[in-house]
Symmetry: C2
Subunit: 300 residues, 2 copies
Amino acid sequence: MLSLKTIELYFHSLQDSICLGLDNADGKGQFKEDLWDRLEGGGGRTRTFSNGNVIEKGGVNFSAVHGPCPEFLRKEAGLKESEQAEFYATGVSLVIHPVNPMVPIIHMNVRYLKAGNLEWFGGGIDLTPHYIFEEDAKFFHTHIKSVCDEHNIAYYPEFKKWADDYFFIQHRNETRGIGGIFFDRLSAKDGISMEDRFHFVQAIGNNFLPIYLPLIEKNKDKSYTEANRQWQLLRRGRYVEFNLVYDRGTKFGLLTNGRTESILMSLPPTANWEYANQPEKDTPEEKTLSLLKKGINWAE
Amino acid sequence: MLSLKTIELYFHSLQDSICLGLDNADGKGQFKEDLWDRLEGGGGRTRTFSNGNVIEKGGVNFSAVHGPCPEFLRKEAGLKESEQAEFYATGVSLVIHPVNPMVPIIHMNVRYLKAGNLEWFGGGIDLTPHYIFEEDAKFFHTHIKSVCDEHNIAYYPEFKKWADDYFFIQHRNETRGIGGIFFDRLSAKDGISMEDRFHFVQAIGNNFLPIYLPLIEKNKDKSYTEANRQWQLLRRGRYVEFNLVYDRGTKFGLLTNGRTESILMSLPPTANWEYANQPEKDTPEEKTLSLLKKGINWAE
């Protein structure tokens, strides 16, 4: 039987190992820690990073919170109006904004939620390159697919499509990046136990460093121009647009009196907006835009 | 009888006079124009500004659009489901992000809307200083109050409170700036005709330059430090948060397939985010934060 403590301890130690790995990869900066309590129950450990060699700004957040079930969750859990219910949520969420425009932004979230008698895992990992390199995109998706396939052959196709649909900036008609996987409400069903789900979520979490560190290593020392930097800042602007307009986690957090600084830790250090920017023909910027669409089959 | 043509022509010429006034005040940059058509009817004239002496980025948008009433407007106009209805909307909307952190960001919107048999004016003007100077805040509110008072003594108190409530960043527990006025659904009632409403809206529009140009003149040559610039970029981050998370015009625009580049023209050229930034005690930054709250009576 899977205990809440086991899950919580896993996420707690995942945050440790990821921060350690990123500290080492950066070589200059270090994560700083903020412990916080939630008035209604539980709390978290927010770790933020700024002005490193490799990471310009980043955050890796752990939390384990509980209390009376908030309204939006009552709906998601299908609770009746009269039903009293407690919720418990724990997980790790991270976003890394690198210095070098050739290194992609990465986001990962793994979480467990219990509301009343229902419980499920959710999360995902997705990549937002400022410049899309096809070999990196293939590496990223192929690696994720192999992790998924080890658990359930149906996972990758379903969760990859989910990410394409979720990380979509409607008003720009473009995806946030090259996607990855996104999943939610993974409960015990169809012969898959909660233990199986947990093993899958652990596999995703444990593969964060093996996926991201090679992408850092490969690209962090590439030279870049001021024009590349400007493009990076515009792409970060799109990242802000997605997170503030569409991202459910951000919206729920802000609208349910969450810890603002931990929620908005995902925002970049600097972002730019320019009216009607259009990359010139046959440039890496134009190629990148052309690949920001749903349904590209990157995995090999 | 007030004709749609009269209203539209006024907004059209208001855009011209405002752009001319700002071009002159800047002395270096100039507005560039983009004409656009709306598939379902009407169109607009977007004017954008970048990299001036005084204005780092700005936009002054005119539009006059019409067609079948979109869903959100049907609700606002209280139309029955079976009711066929056309809508017509025209107005001017502007945001100016200055170079010098001592010059405030300004936003103004004046608009007319007709949906089925209902029609109303809406709009407002509000100021977002990166650094709040009390004499500037008093000048701004006193000027607006006197324009309001000439039309209706009830306007300023009501519309000032509306702005305080509207331009509020809930998740930061702070107002976007020092407010101003905000009003909507001003139709013919209580002995006030649509002509009276139009005269009021014209007075607001015509007072934009007399209000903003002195604030530019007074502050544009003030010296500032890199720390002041950094603070400006953080304050712009808050501006982005308000516009993308709360602003109704932005949300409606993005969710109803509006012209994205014209809607997001309000975003700053560059904005920064920093985890848990806290100004030091007894600094102008701390003073500014302490004044970002509702209910301050700035007008004399």
